[in-house]
Amino acid sequence: MLAQRATQQSLRRLAASNPSMASQMVFKSLAVGSSMQTRYEILVAQRKNRPTSPHLTIYKPQMTWIPSALNRVTGSVLSGGFYVFGAAYLVSPLFGWHLDSASMAAAFGSLPVAAKVAAKFAVALPFTFHSFNGLRHLSWDLGKTFSNQAVIRTGYVMLGVSTVSAFWLALFA
């Protein structure tokens, strides 16, 4: 590790050396481009080199945006399951699947208790999260609880309520 660090340092020093030569080179290329057409080409080249937005990992994880992103994730999970079931129920006679409520209840009831609780929790947590976080979003749409402190406070309340209610739904409901 130390050796790599030393190599990086020496490379940086190498890059930083000879600045006078660098400036001469830049001036030479600008002097060539004295006509308007060439100046415009330089402008276009600069615009094409503008920095692009950094990816998500550069941002600090904060209560303002993490649950908002998870709102879309949990909504997609719930709606995806809803769509998969609806479409599968429509085509089930073609393939001989038994997706009527009695068969599904019997199949689910035959699972071991741990699997049942785990499956219920896996469905209940996205449901409670999306429901309670949806209330926050609707409140923001009305312009309420929209200060930074309120968003953070309601965020922690929402996380607590949705986790507890998901456990309650999985274990006792």
Partner: protein, 201 residues
């Protein structure tokens, strides 16, 4: 440590780090896939040579400055100029049915889901009409949500054909699911009652 003894190990480490590097606004010519115009005035070999000797492998040069991980979800394409370099971003024509009316409709559906979600918990189950209303509201809410996801992650500018495919595929899926739910509502016990029976099984 071993890189003192074996320079090849160092080179491989540097190459691996460079291939993982995330975003760079400099030394772009060494990554033509991300920043294509290698003929750019600013990245002319003459200018770059003044800073760094080309005798160094370009990957090593980049590795010296960039060591963070690469996230390859929709990496930026080479930038292009539409029209002239000084054109402002186009403002789309105002359309309430695609703007404020649509936004309000989304919120009304979402707000309407609150009582419809509380009702089965309060009443134990739902009668067929209310259950059908709940299903329809969830279907519209889901459709709007999926539409937003398609708009956000499959931009027309970048993937025009994929966008059309997903746009109409989503509409087809919503119709199929709607028909499927109608079948379930008319032939079975209803969604809330079915969930209740499975949940208590």
């Amino acid at each position: 440590m071993a890189s003192i003894v074996r320079p090849a190990v160092l080179r491989q480490t540097c190459l691996a780090t460079a291939s993982k590097r995330t975003f760079s606004t400099k030394l772009s010519a060494s990554f033509p896939a991300i920043n294509k115009p290698a003929t750019s005035v600013l990245s002319r070999p003459a200018v770059r040579n003044a800073f760094v000797k080309d005798a160094l492998p370009s990957a090593v040069r980049v590795a010296a400055f960039h060591a963070s991980g690469r996230q390859a979800i929709l990496p930026p394409l080479p930038q292009v100029i539409d029209g002239t370099a000084n054109d402002a971003a186009p403002v789309p024509p105002p359309s309430p049915s695609h703007g404020s009316y649509h936004w309000t409709f989304e919120r009304l559906i979402s707000a309407g889901l609150i009582p419809l979600t509380i009702a089965p918990f309060a009443a134990g189950s739902l009668n067929p009409t209310t259950d059908a209303i709940l299903c329809a509201a969830i279907l519209i809410h889901s459709h709007i949500g999926f539409e937003s996801i398609v708009i956000d992650y499959i931009p027309t500018k970048r993937l025009p054909k994929t966008r059309v495919l997903f746009w109409w595929g989503l509409r087809l899926a919503t119709v199929v699911v709607g028909v499927g739910l109608y079948e379930f509502e008319t032939n079975d016990v209803g969604v809330t009652e079915a969930i209740k029976r499975i949940w208590h099984a």
